[in-house]
Symmetry: C2
Subunit: 203 residues, 2 copies
């Protein structure tokens, strides 16, 4: 990983509003880029290869794993999901802020591999608000909603291991806070070794 | 030290513009407070007790040291200088951002005692600019200026140990960056344990 860009993991419970915040953020900042996951699952209606996922077969995915080409991966319901390394590394080299929308365990795995990563957790203002948002979707039954709330509670408990917590009261506030985190991270001494040597050498 | 406020050490070479940046910052943000140092040296013309320093006698200062009442202290040219703990702790409890303008060694001492401290280094855009600023003061002779530049180079080398580096191109930019660092630090998970437990407990 290069000094130049910043790798960010972005997590939060289902219904916390991650997609909305991310989409507004990348509209606002052209130095940001969302990392696209790779999966072996079937393409669903409306999904496009290279936009929602890179859709590949199991053989291709497993070769990526064995050639150390994945940042992280996991298997759910018989399908592989993961983050391919190459596009992330390229974007970082170009100075971009690469954002990985990823669940808590995946974020932990990446933190172990890349201690330089910045982890951001999107927190619902309360569990009540989260429940309202999940019910508002009207796509899930009672059991699924209750299951999601149990998982949400667990994820929120683990948010103390993240670097930053953004409470998603409004999308606008969350985007502004996320943007501020990026600007502040760009000022970290650990990301500015070049400036230090330039000033010392009176360039 | 409390969770609520943030303790910041602020360093930079002589002539980097620390005072100007700090004065503008505290005008802009009423959640910030500059920590006032304590010293045993004589009051100089124009200086006020409790504004520029707390002026005390050596006996008082030494009692503060032995009762663990100083955050850090050092002796220069026969005089003691240091940061009294009590006003810092009170301001932190009240949720304030307390800023200590302090040299590199003092900042290191505080970092060892309070790992939660945020350290900010004000970097001149170049050594040439720093030299011009020092000459512009017209208060120091050639030898003093050269001595200050040698020390500046050493301090800049140590800036890699700081959390953040703010390149002081203009006062306005530096104040904005400093302010952004404070806002981002307020979002750190380590400073938001209360929010986590509130959301989990559905307050």
């Amino acid at each position: 990983m290069t000094d130049k860009g910043i790798l960010i993991t972005f997590s939060g419970p289902s219904g916390s509003g991650k997609d909305t915040v991310l989409n507004e953020l990348i509209k606002k900042r052209d130095d940001t880029k969302i990392s696209i996951s790779m999966t072996t699952r079937e393409v669903r209606e409306g999904e496009k290869d290279g936009v929602h996922y890179y859709f590949v077969d199991r053989d291709f995915f497993e070769k990526k794993i064995s050639s150390d080409g994945m940042l992280e991966y996991a298997e759910y319901a018989g399908n592989l999901y993961g983050t391919p390394k190459e596009p992330v590394d390229e974007a970082l080299k170009a100075g971009k802020v690469v954002i990985l929308e990823i669940e808590v365990q995946g974020a932990e795995k990446i933190k172990q591999k890349y201690p330089d990563v910045v982890s951001v957790f999107l927190m619902p203002p309360s569990l009540r608000v989260l429940e309202e948002r999940l019910r508002g979707r009207k796509t899930e039954d009672e059991e699924t909603i209750n299951h999601r709330l149990v998982i949400a509670r667990e994820e929120i408990r683990k948010s103390s291991d993240y670097d930053y917590i953004v409470v998603n009261d409004t999308v606008e506030n969350s985007v502004e806070k996320f943007s501020m985190i990026i600007d502040a991270e760009r000022l970290k001494a650990s990301r500015n070794k070049k400036i230090i040597s330039e000033v010392i050498n009176n360039v």
